[in-house]
Amino acid sequence: MSTSKLSHAEAAEQFIKDEPRTDWHDETLWFVRQKRDKAAHGLPEWEKLREWASQIKDHTLSNLDNYLLEFERNANANGITVHWATDGADHNRIIFDIIQQNNIQKIVKSKSMLTEECGLNEFLHAKGIETVDTDLGERIVQFRNEAPSHIVLPAIHLKKQDVSDTFHEHLHTEKGNNDPQYLTEAARQHLREKFIESELAITGVNFAVAETGGFVVCTNEGNADMGAHAAKIHIACMGFEKMIPKAEHLSVFLRLLARSATGQPITTYSSHFHKPREGQEMHIIIVDNGRSRQLGRADFRNSLKCIRCAACFNTCPVYRRSGGHSYHTAVAGPIGSILNPNIDMRANADLPFASTLCGSCSNVCPVKIDIHDQLWKWRQVLVAEGYVDTTKKIGLQGMAFVLARPGLYRFAGKAGRAVMRMFPWLLNNKLNPWYKQREMPAPPKESFRDWYIKNKQQ
């Protein structure tokens, strides 16, 4: 996770300073959003699929205790060891115990936003154990000691040149060679060694099926499979919201996931794991880490329907122009802005305000999470809990006082316009964030009300 101390607005301002790069970031993600549109338009039943997915998730969340226990029973029967973790520290400790018990040195990990959320890499690193991220984008940001900036496209903030420089430093590739084919091949050779050596593979989980006790991992690179098939131990980590009741429900989610994420009909690999192969150990860690608290918040429980497609990132005009790191959390973007205040209200109080509430996120969401409405509701909670800037609070209190009193409002309006006309420098200065890059509206002598009384009320 990022250690940035900057608020979203401050970090975004830094990001935008490089305007050509911001444009490139925006256009790249807009291209993905357009691919999503094309894929969605290709299915006449698209809106129906969204509705089904939403209802399946609603049902599952309402009966989650039963489905989790059913999953545990069936997974155990299949020979999978199920662990329960109350928080990130618990999750990391369970993994560390398995590592120690088996005297493991070589670990590969496929993409899992949950392990990012729990800070697993940092935790293991502090214990002297290195994990190798095997998703190409994740490997790139790992080399750079950065957090992923996007949950599906972890290195989307980087250009080919950046990747080339990173690989030159860490993999000794030719300096200045930006050819994607060349760079990918270098990563492939490097990762192949890691896969062969690995003793432990950690993967995420996209869907866990209560009925079968199995789980599905979706990747485009096959790296989860390479890791899990080679290592003698496979640990799969999942937030408890990944549960679905039956295998048949996968037909809805697998069709929605990749189309929403990248515009593909389906991920290149949708791998179904049901039991360890002979001689292999398979563990699954089911993590709460604040999820039960969110489940208990009526206004926000819907956020647990998220299947991590990142469609809301790609469509978000704010995300596209501020970059994932400005959200300073493992899961960025609009969905992250409603999940993260639950994890730490103080640290993430800025995030629900990093939105214009345009509503595009809710429209693309394949499981129909009311994302922009939840952002609005979080703002109310954060203000009520006191996580708000004093200047803002005083300003809005003053505004509310004036606007509730028609006479005062009219006086303030008239006086304000007169001051703007006579002393424009009072507002047209660098203390006014509006004026920094925008002219103020020209203040008319007469308000609409003045005009109305003069012309309509004689």
Partner: protein, 245 residues
């Protein structure tokens, strides 16, 4: 038909011509319009900033001003959406509910209630339409690029009745302009960048004007256009529909 004219505070103070155009337009179509003199603000700036609790007295004032009308009409999708979703008055819950159900954004009112089929308006200019998010996605004034639903647009339907007007749409037809209420101040950098990008998209169509149903978005775009010395002007859709140039 008794119509209460709702002119949002910042339009009242800074863009009276939009209020005038709205009033004249409604009168042209035979509405019995009155403007309650003690109205102020819908309360949205507070509510969207997390201070919904502070907008109670604003709500009360709104209900006191707008009770007893058949319809309430305002030239701002964003304010209308806020009223529809959040207007409450503990002392007059029934009247607040009536307002929530009968408050309309101007173009929505013209198309859905008055069912306007022709206009005596002329505006011989090249105009780009900015779809404001709250009107579009919140009030369903037009179809949205994210949803797989039949295409329609109430503002476009009305603009197509204006003589001489050449309408263009930006490539990203319904992307947010970045105003976002207090967002434009507290996230100044992103807000301005979004506005610049909107303008650039319209500029490729060589528009003379950018129009829309929300003065807030237009005010933000206007501020950027003026700062950068652009010749492109902003104009509210009510002014175009009411124009006789």
């Amino acid at each position: 038909m008794k119509v209460g004219l709702f002119i949002p505070c910042y339009i009242d103070q800074f863009y009276p011509q939009v209020g005038i155009a709205t009033l004249q337009l409604l009168e042209k179509f035979g509405c019995n319009v009155s403007f309650p003199l003690n109205q102020t603000c819908c309360g949205q700036p507070m509510a969207n900033s997390g201070f919904a609790a502070l907008s109670k007295n604003c709500d009360k004032n709104f209900v006191a001003n707008f009770r007893g009308f058949d319809y309430i009409v305002g030239p701002s999708g964003s304010c209308v959406l806020h009223l529809k979703e959040h207007l409450h008055d503990e002392q007059h819950p029934g009247e607040a509910e009536h307002i929530r159900k009968h408050v309309y954004e101007l173009t929505e009112f013209l198309v859905d209630i008055l069912k306007i089929e022709k206009l005596e308006a002329s505006f011989p200019h090249k105009v780009g339409l900015h779809n404001s998010c709250h009107g579009q996605r919140g009030l369903h004034l037009s179809s949205m690029s994210e949803r797989m639903l039949p295409a329609f647009s109430k503002p476009q339907q009305l603009l197509s009745m204006v003589k001489g007007l050449e309408l263009t749409l930006p490539v990203r037809s319904d992307e947010c302009c970045g105003f976002g209420g207090t967002f434009c101040v507290f996230e100044e950098a992103v807000s301005v960048k979004m506005g610049k990008d909107r303008i650039a998209d319209h500029a490729t169509n060589n528009v003379e004007y950018i129009t829309g149903g929300d003065v807030s978005c237009l005010m933000h775009l206007e501020g950027i256009l003026k700062r950068n010395g652009s010749k492109v002007k902003t104009v509210h859709i009510a002014e175009i529909l009411n124009s006789n140039a």
